[in-house]
Amino acid sequence: MGNSVDIIFKIAGVGILVAVLNSILKAAGKEEQGHLVTLAGLAIVFIWVVQLLASLFDQVKSVFKLF
């Protein structure tokens, strides 16, 4: 349970951090780097979510005998 709540907070943290960094970079006139920061955050979160989805599919497969 604690582990699963952790990942939600991690994702929300990355989201807020990316938003703040984006607005700072935009204010400093570095729009391209802002886009890169957004992309990096998206990739990191995507890796976590894909691992989570893989574990969900594995468990559903074993419970419902889908092979």
Binding site: S4, I8, I11, I16, Q59, F64, K65
Partner: protein, 128 residues
């Protein structure tokens, strides 16, 4: 009281999704995917124990395991497809969601064909 945990988890996830979505919509979608997966994983163990009971009852009633297996597979496909389609619809992609549901219906049809054939063969045996 596991219900309290689940409800609290859902509320926390909702607040975080609302906060993140206003700034970064794409991360909001991923956050809601993660929340959905975790909520389902929390109840999947319980579903497994219910399935064990149903299997034991089927054994005791002397019904062939082929039919129960097919029904379980259909339930699994329906759940996974519904999960994916709801996430797509939440993100505003209704077209993709409809196609996922269509594909799942085809898969379920493929699984159900042997049962339909068995029923038809039984009927043919009854008709002289």
């Amino acid at each position: 009281m596991e219900v309290m945990q689940i409800v609290a988890f859902g509320l926390i996830a909702t607040v975080l999704i609302v906060v993140v979505k206003s700034q970064r919509p794409e991360l909001g979608v991923l956050l809601s995917v993660a929340a959905g997966v975790i909520l389902f994983l929390l109840v999947l163990d319980k579903i497994g124990s219910i399935m064990d009971v149903i299997k034991e009852l089927t054994d005791r009633a002397g019904i062939s395991m082929i039919y129960l297996g097919t029904i379980l597979k259909i339930i699994g496909i329906a759940y996974i497809a519904e999960f994916g389609a709801q996430i797509c619809r939440d993100a505003g992609e209704g077209a993709v969601a409809t196609k996922i549901e269509f594909a799942a219906k085809i898969m379920i049809m493929v699984l159900a064909v042997p049962i339909v054939v068995a029923v038809l063969q039984l009927l043919l045996m009854l008709v002289p």
